[in-house]
Protein backbone atom coordinates (compact mmCIF):
# COMPACT_ATOMS: atom_id res chain seq x y z
CA UNK A 1 0.00 0.00 0.00
CA UNK A 2 2.70 2.41 0.98
CA UNK A 3 4.64 1.51 -2.12
CA UNK A 4 1.59 2.40 -4.18
CA UNK A 5 1.45 5.82 -2.62
CA UNK A 6 5.08 6.57 -3.39
CA UNK A 7 5.86 4.72 -6.61
CA UNK A 8 6.10 7.77 -8.85
CA UNK A 9 7.87 9.83 -6.21
CA UNK A 10 10.51 7.16 -5.71
CA UNK A 11 11.09 7.02 -9.44
CA UNK A 12 11.54 10.78 -9.42
CA UNK A 13 14.00 10.53 -6.55
CA UNK A 14 16.00 7.97 -8.47
CA UNK A 15 16.22 10.32 -11.43
CA UNK A 16 17.15 13.30 -9.26
CA UNK A 17 19.96 11.36 -7.63
CA UNK A 18 21.11 10.22 -11.05
CA UNK A 19 21.22 13.80 -12.31
CA UNK A 20 23.10 14.96 -9.25
CA UNK A 21 25.64 12.22 -9.80
CA UNK A 22 26.01 13.08 -13.48
CA UNK A 23 26.45 16.76 -12.75
CA UNK A 24 29.05 16.31 -10.11
CA UNK A 25 30.91 13.39 -11.54
CA UNK A 26 30.39 13.88 -15.21
CA UNK A 27 34.11 14.38 -15.41
CA UNK A 28 34.35 10.60 -15.39
CA UNK A 29 32.17 10.36 -18.48
CA UNK A 30 33.61 13.28 -20.38
CA UNK A 31 30.86 15.73 -19.42
CA UNK A 32 32.17 19.19 -18.59
CA UNK A 33 31.74 19.31 -14.92
CA UNK A 34 31.82 21.74 -12.02
CA UNK A 35 35.15 22.87 -10.69
CA UNK A 36 37.17 19.97 -9.42
CA UNK A 37 37.27 21.32 -5.92
CA UNK A 38 33.60 20.71 -5.30
CA UNK A 39 33.78 17.22 -6.75
CA UNK A 40 36.71 16.14 -4.66
CA UNK A 41 35.09 17.31 -1.48
CA UNK A 42 31.87 15.37 -1.90
CA UNK A 43 33.26 12.34 -3.72
CA UNK A 44 33.88 10.25 -0.58
CA UNK A 45 30.20 10.44 0.31
CA UNK A 46 28.76 9.65 -3.08
CA UNK A 47 28.62 5.88 -3.00
CA UNK A 48 24.86 5.74 -3.29
CA UNK A 49 24.71 8.32 -6.07
CA UNK A 50 27.43 6.52 -7.98
CA UNK A 51 25.57 3.23 -7.80
CA UNK A 52 22.38 4.96 -8.95
CA UNK A 53 24.25 6.52 -11.85
CA UNK A 54 25.88 3.25 -12.82
CA UNK A 55 22.58 1.42 -12.71
CA UNK A 56 20.83 4.05 -14.80
CA UNK A 57 23.57 4.12 -17.43
CA UNK A 58 23.42 0.36 -17.71
CA UNK A 59 19.72 0.59 -18.46
CA UNK A 60 19.97 3.32 -21.07
CA UNK A 61 19.68 0.91 -23.99
CA UNK A 62 16.08 0.21 -23.04
CA UNK A 63 14.55 3.44 -21.86
CA UNK A 64 11.06 2.04 -22.38
CA UNK A 65 11.62 -0.58 -19.74
CA UNK A 66 12.63 2.08 -17.28
CA UNK A 67 9.90 4.57 -17.91
CA UNK A 68 6.82 3.03 -19.46
CA UNK A 69 5.80 1.41 -16.21
CA UNK A 70 4.97 4.86 -14.94
CA UNK A 71 2.48 5.60 -17.66
CA UNK A 72 -1.13 4.55 -17.29
CA UNK A 73 -2.43 4.36 -20.78
CA UNK A 74 -5.20 1.84 -20.80
Amino acid sequence: MREDATFLIRKQLDEEENIFALLTMGVFSGIPSPPTGVVLRILPHMSREISVMTRRSAGLDDVFAQTLGTFDID
Binding site: R2, V38, I42
Partner: protein, 317 residues
Protein backbone atom coordinates in the same frame (compact mmCIF):
# COMPACT_ATOMS: atom_id res chain seq x y z
CA UNK B 1 46.40 40.06 8.55
CA UNK B 2 47.26 41.59 5.22
CA UNK B 3 47.87 39.66 2.06
CA UNK B 4 49.88 40.77 -0.92
CA UNK B 5 49.72 39.28 -4.40
CA UNK B 6 52.27 40.10 -7.07
CA UNK B 7 50.98 39.27 -10.55
CA UNK B 8 52.91 39.34 -13.77
CA UNK B 9 54.31 37.44 -16.72
CA UNK B 10 57.36 35.30 -16.38
CA UNK B 11 60.56 37.38 -16.39
CA UNK B 12 59.09 40.78 -15.45
CA UNK B 13 60.61 40.71 -11.99
CA UNK B 14 57.68 39.46 -9.93
CA UNK B 15 59.83 37.38 -7.67
CA UNK B 16 62.24 40.23 -7.00
CA UNK B 17 59.36 42.58 -6.25
CA UNK B 18 57.60 40.18 -3.92
CA UNK B 19 60.83 39.23 -2.18
CA UNK B 20 61.83 42.84 -1.73
CA UNK B 21 58.40 43.76 -0.49
CA UNK B 22 58.42 40.98 2.07
CA UNK B 23 61.83 42.10 3.29
CA UNK B 24 60.56 45.63 3.68
CA UNK B 25 57.53 44.50 5.66
CA UNK B 26 59.65 42.34 7.92
CA UNK B 27 61.99 45.24 8.45
CA UNK B 28 59.10 47.43 9.61
CA UNK B 29 58.31 44.94 12.33
CA UNK B 30 55.58 42.81 10.75
CA UNK B 31 55.91 39.06 11.04
CA UNK B 32 55.96 38.18 7.37
CA UNK B 33 55.71 35.03 5.27
CA UNK B 34 56.65 35.10 1.61
CA UNK B 35 55.32 32.14 -0.33
CA UNK B 36 56.03 31.24 -3.91
CA UNK B 37 53.11 29.49 -5.55
CA UNK B 38 54.70 29.86 -8.98
CA UNK B 39 55.74 26.44 -10.31
CA UNK B 40 58.84 28.11 -11.72
CA UNK B 41 60.32 28.95 -8.36
CA UNK B 42 62.84 31.77 -8.15
CA UNK B 43 62.39 32.80 -4.57
CA UNK B 44 65.43 30.90 -3.46
CA UNK B 45 67.54 32.70 -6.05
CA UNK B 46 66.29 36.08 -4.83
CA UNK B 47 67.27 35.28 -1.29
CA UNK B 48 70.44 33.51 -2.35
CA UNK B 49 69.35 30.63 -0.16
CA UNK B 50 67.87 27.23 -0.89
CA UNK B 51 64.19 27.36 -0.02
CA UNK B 52 62.20 24.14 0.16
CA UNK B 53 58.54 23.31 0.51
CA UNK B 54 58.63 23.65 4.27
CA UNK B 55 58.38 27.08 5.79
CA UNK B 56 61.81 28.27 6.79
CA UNK B 57 63.29 31.26 8.48
CA UNK B 58 65.23 33.51 6.14
CA UNK B 59 65.65 36.64 8.21
CA UNK B 60 64.32 38.71 11.09
CA UNK B 61 60.53 38.45 11.13
CA UNK B 62 60.73 36.77 7.77
CA UNK B 63 59.83 33.23 6.71
CA UNK B 64 59.79 31.84 3.19
CA UNK B 65 58.45 28.79 1.37
CA UNK B 66 58.35 27.46 -2.17
CA UNK B 67 55.16 25.45 -2.57
CA UNK B 68 55.46 22.33 -4.68
CA UNK B 69 52.09 22.30 -6.40
CA UNK B 70 52.66 18.97 -8.10
CA UNK B 71 53.35 17.34 -4.77
CA UNK B 72 50.36 19.03 -3.25
CA UNK B 73 48.12 17.65 -5.95
CA UNK B 74 49.54 14.19 -5.61
CA UNK B 75 49.29 14.23 -1.81
CA UNK B 76 45.74 15.47 -1.97
CA UNK B 77 44.69 12.87 -4.50
CA UNK B 78 46.42 10.14 -2.52
CA UNK B 79 44.52 11.10 0.59
CA UNK B 80 41.31 11.18 -1.37
CA UNK B 81 42.12 7.85 -2.92
CA UNK B 82 42.61 6.30 0.49
CA UNK B 83 39.33 7.78 1.70
CA UNK B 84 37.58 6.49 -1.40
CA UNK B 85 38.99 3.00 -1.08
CA UNK B 86 37.63 2.91 2.40
CA UNK B 87 34.20 4.17 1.47
CA UNK B 88 33.70 2.19 -1.69
CA UNK B 89 34.88 -1.15 -0.58
CA UNK B 90 33.90 -2.90 -3.71
CA UNK B 91 32.60 -0.55 -6.30
CA UNK B 92 32.08 -2.58 -9.39
CA UNK B 93 31.99 0.12 -11.99
CA UNK B 94 35.04 2.16 -11.22
CA UNK B 95 38.71 1.49 -11.22
CA UNK B 96 39.58 4.08 -8.62
CA UNK B 97 43.28 4.40 -9.27
CA UNK B 98 42.73 4.77 -12.96
CA UNK B 99 40.29 7.62 -12.50
CA UNK B 100 42.60 9.51 -10.20
CA UNK B 101 45.22 9.59 -12.89
CA UNK B 102 42.72 11.36 -15.12
CA UNK B 103 41.96 13.86 -12.39
CA UNK B 104 45.60 14.90 -12.27
CA UNK B 105 45.19 16.38 -15.74
CA UNK B 106 41.65 17.61 -15.35
CA UNK B 107 41.23 21.27 -16.18
CA UNK B 108 41.15 23.12 -12.96
CA UNK B 109 43.09 20.78 -10.76
CA UNK B 110 46.13 23.04 -10.70
CA UNK B 111 44.03 26.10 -9.98
CA UNK B 112 42.27 24.19 -7.26
CA UNK B 113 45.50 23.08 -5.63
CA UNK B 114 46.92 26.60 -5.84
CA UNK B 115 43.81 27.97 -4.19
CA UNK B 116 44.11 25.37 -1.47
CA UNK B 117 47.70 26.47 -0.91
CA UNK B 118 46.64 30.11 -0.58
CA UNK B 119 43.91 29.06 1.83
CA UNK B 120 46.41 27.14 3.90
CA UNK B 121 48.85 30.01 4.30
CA UNK B 122 46.20 32.61 4.90
CA UNK B 123 44.87 30.50 7.74
CA UNK B 124 48.19 30.38 9.52
CA UNK B 125 48.28 32.15 12.84
CA UNK B 126 51.31 34.10 13.79
CA UNK B 127 51.83 36.19 10.66
CA UNK B 128 50.91 39.82 10.18
CA UNK B 129 51.47 39.66 6.46
CA UNK B 130 51.66 37.03 3.74
CA UNK B 131 53.23 37.86 0.41
CA UNK B 132 52.57 35.65 -2.61
CA UNK B 133 54.80 35.27 -5.61
CA UNK B 134 52.19 34.05 -8.05
CA UNK B 135 52.18 31.84 -11.15
CA UNK B 136 52.00 33.46 -14.62
CA UNK B 137 49.11 35.90 -14.94
CA UNK B 138 46.56 33.70 -16.67
CA UNK B 139 46.72 31.05 -14.00
CA UNK B 140 46.64 33.57 -11.17
CA UNK B 141 43.59 35.31 -12.52
CA UNK B 142 41.81 31.99 -12.74
CA UNK B 143 42.81 31.22 -9.20
CA UNK B 144 41.61 34.58 -7.90
CA UNK B 145 38.34 34.07 -9.76
CA UNK B 146 37.89 30.55 -8.45
CA UNK B 147 35.97 31.32 -5.29
CA UNK B 148 33.38 33.27 -7.20
CA UNK B 149 33.04 30.69 -9.98
CA UNK B 150 32.95 27.78 -7.60
CA UNK B 151 30.36 29.57 -5.48
CA UNK B 152 27.94 29.79 -8.38
CA UNK B 153 28.17 26.06 -8.94
CA UNK B 154 28.10 25.20 -5.26
CA UNK B 155 24.94 27.24 -4.79
CA UNK B 156 23.27 25.31 -7.61
CA UNK B 157 24.42 21.99 -6.21
CA UNK B 158 23.08 22.93 -2.80
CA UNK B 159 19.74 23.78 -4.38
CA UNK B 160 19.69 20.47 -6.20
CA UNK B 161 20.63 18.59 -3.04
CA UNK B 162 17.83 20.31 -1.15
CA UNK B 163 15.37 19.01 -3.71
CA UNK B 164 16.64 15.49 -3.33
CA UNK B 165 16.37 15.72 0.44
CA UNK B 166 12.87 17.13 0.14
CA UNK B 167 11.77 14.29 -2.15
CA UNK B 168 13.25 11.78 0.27
CA UNK B 169 11.32 13.49 3.02
CA UNK B 170 8.09 12.94 1.16
CA UNK B 171 8.78 9.23 0.80
CA UNK B 172 9.73 9.15 4.46
CA UNK B 173 6.44 10.68 5.51
CA UNK B 174 4.71 7.68 4.00
CA UNK B 175 7.14 4.81 4.39
CA UNK B 176 9.29 5.80 7.31
CA UNK B 177 13.08 6.01 7.14
CA UNK B 178 14.34 5.36 3.66
CA UNK B 179 16.77 2.48 3.55
CA UNK B 180 18.75 1.29 0.61
CA UNK B 181 21.37 -1.28 -0.08
CA UNK B 182 24.66 0.31 -1.03
CA UNK B 183 27.57 -1.97 -1.83
CA UNK B 184 26.15 -4.81 0.18
CA UNK B 185 25.29 -2.79 3.24
CA UNK B 186 21.95 -1.45 4.33
CA UNK B 187 22.26 2.29 4.71
CA UNK B 188 19.72 4.82 5.91
CA UNK B 189 19.34 7.64 3.41
CA UNK B 190 18.65 10.72 5.39
CA UNK B 191 16.34 13.48 4.35
CA UNK B 192 17.58 16.04 6.83
CA UNK B 193 20.24 18.56 5.84
CA UNK B 194 22.06 18.08 9.11
CA UNK B 195 22.45 14.35 8.61
CA UNK B 196 23.32 14.32 4.95
CA UNK B 197 27.12 14.22 4.66
CA UNK B 198 27.04 15.62 1.14
CA UNK B 199 24.99 18.62 2.18
CA UNK B 200 27.31 19.24 5.08
CA UNK B 201 30.33 19.17 2.79
CA UNK B 202 28.66 21.48 0.30
CA UNK B 203 27.68 23.96 2.97
CA UNK B 204 31.07 24.04 4.66
CA UNK B 205 32.78 24.32 1.29
CA UNK B 206 30.53 27.25 0.46
CA UNK B 207 31.56 28.93 3.69
CA UNK B 208 35.22 28.53 2.89
CA UNK B 209 34.68 29.89 -0.59
CA UNK B 210 32.82 32.89 0.73
CA UNK B 211 35.58 33.63 3.16
CA UNK B 212 38.18 33.44 0.44
CA UNK B 213 36.15 35.53 -1.97
CA UNK B 214 35.63 38.20 0.63
CA UNK B 215 39.27 38.11 1.53
CA UNK B 216 40.39 38.65 -2.07
CA UNK B 217 38.10 41.65 -2.36
CA UNK B 218 38.75 43.11 1.04
CA UNK B 219 40.75 46.12 2.09
CA UNK B 220 43.34 43.85 3.67
CA UNK B 221 44.19 42.32 0.35
CA UNK B 222 46.67 44.05 -1.96
CA UNK B 223 46.87 42.88 -5.53
CA UNK B 224 49.76 44.35 -7.47
CA UNK B 225 50.83 43.98 -11.05
CA UNK B 226 54.48 43.86 -12.03
CA UNK B 227 55.05 44.72 -15.65
CA UNK B 228 57.38 46.49 -18.06
CA UNK B 229 57.00 49.80 -19.82
CA UNK B 230 56.13 48.46 -23.26
CA UNK B 231 53.06 48.99 -25.42
CA UNK B 232 51.93 45.37 -25.32
CA UNK B 233 52.42 45.31 -21.59
CA UNK B 234 50.10 48.28 -21.26
CA UNK B 235 47.31 46.47 -23.10
CA UNK B 236 47.79 43.39 -21.05
CA UNK B 237 47.81 45.33 -17.81
CA UNK B 238 44.54 47.01 -18.66
CA UNK B 239 42.98 43.66 -19.46
CA UNK B 240 44.10 42.20 -16.18
CA UNK B 241 42.65 45.13 -14.28
CA UNK B 242 39.36 44.72 -16.10
CA UNK B 243 39.24 40.99 -15.50
CA UNK B 244 39.93 41.33 -11.85
CA UNK B 245 37.38 44.12 -11.72
CA UNK B 246 34.65 41.77 -12.78
CA UNK B 247 35.52 39.66 -9.77
CA UNK B 248 35.48 42.75 -7.59
CA UNK B 249 39.19 42.54 -6.98
CA UNK B 250 41.05 45.86 -6.92
CA UNK B 251 44.52 46.36 -8.23
CA UNK B 252 46.51 48.64 -5.89
CA UNK B 253 49.84 49.32 -7.51
CA UNK B 254 51.47 48.81 -10.86
CA UNK B 255 55.18 48.32 -10.75
CA UNK B 256 56.93 49.21 -14.00
CA UNK B 257 60.07 47.16 -13.81
CA UNK B 258 63.38 47.16 -15.68
CA UNK B 259 62.89 50.74 -16.51
CA UNK B 260 65.62 52.33 -18.57
CA UNK B 261 66.85 55.30 -16.53
CA UNK B 262 69.92 56.61 -18.32
CA UNK B 263 71.47 60.01 -18.40
CA UNK B 264 73.08 59.59 -21.78
CA UNK B 265 71.31 56.88 -23.66
CA UNK B 266 73.04 55.45 -26.74
CA UNK B 267 71.19 55.73 -30.08
CA UNK B 268 69.98 52.12 -30.03
CA UNK B 269 68.13 52.63 -26.78
CA UNK B 270 66.64 56.07 -27.44
CA UNK B 271 63.65 54.57 -29.22
CA UNK B 272 62.99 52.24 -26.36
CA UNK B 273 63.14 55.09 -23.89
CA UNK B 274 60.67 57.09 -25.89
CA UNK B 275 58.33 54.13 -25.87
CA UNK B 276 58.75 53.95 -22.13
CA UNK B 277 57.85 57.61 -21.67
CA UNK B 278 54.81 57.16 -23.82
CA UNK B 279 53.68 54.12 -21.92
CA UNK B 280 54.03 55.78 -18.55
CA UNK B 281 52.18 58.84 -19.69
CA UNK B 282 49.32 56.79 -21.06
CA UNK B 283 49.27 54.51 -18.08
CA UNK B 284 48.94 57.40 -15.71
CA UNK B 285 46.26 58.95 -17.86
CA UNK B 286 44.21 55.90 -18.72
CA UNK B 287 44.39 53.92 -15.55
CA UNK B 288 42.82 55.76 -12.72
CA UNK B 289 43.02 55.12 -9.03
CA UNK B 290 46.08 52.93 -9.25
CA UNK B 291 49.54 53.96 -8.26
CA UNK B 292 52.26 53.51 -10.84
CA UNK B 293 55.81 53.07 -9.61
CA UNK B 294 58.82 52.59 -11.77
CA UNK B 295 61.76 50.44 -10.86
CA UNK B 296 64.87 51.04 -12.92
CA UNK B 297 66.85 48.37 -14.64
CA UNK B 298 69.42 47.46 -12.09
CA UNK B 299 73.01 46.71 -12.90
CA UNK B 300 72.62 43.28 -11.51
CA UNK B 301 69.66 41.36 -10.08
CA UNK B 302 69.45 41.87 -6.36
CA UNK B 303 70.30 38.86 -4.32
CA UNK B 304 70.19 38.44 -0.58
CA UNK B 305 68.29 40.32 2.08
CA UNK B 306 70.38 43.48 2.12
CA UNK B 307 70.11 44.10 -1.60
CA UNK B 308 66.40 43.33 -1.52
CA UNK B 309 65.93 45.79 1.32
CA UNK B 310 67.67 48.45 -0.71
CA UNK B 311 65.32 47.81 -3.64
CA UNK B 312 62.38 48.11 -1.29
CA UNK B 313 63.45 51.37 0.28
CA UNK B 314 64.54 53.00 -2.96
CA UNK B 315 61.81 52.02 -5.33
CA UNK B 316 58.87 50.19 -3.88
CA UNK B 317 57.55 52.44 -1.17
Amino acid sequence: MKTYFFLGKGGVGKTTASAAWSVGLAQSGLKTLVASIDPAHNLGDAFAVRIGDRIMHVGDNLDAVEVNIEDMIRAYLDELSAKMKNTYRYLSAMNIDGYFDILKNSPGIEEYATMEAIKKFVALIGYDAVVFDTPPTGMTIRVLAMPRVSLLWTDQLIKMRKRILSTRGMVENVQGKFEAEVDGERVVLSSSEKEDPIMQELVSYREELRTLRDMFSSEQSYVNIVTMAEDLALFETKRIIESLGTFKIRVRTIFLNKFFAMANPPEEIKGKMEEQEGVIKRMKAEIRGIEVKDIPLLRKSPRGIDELLRVYSNYLV
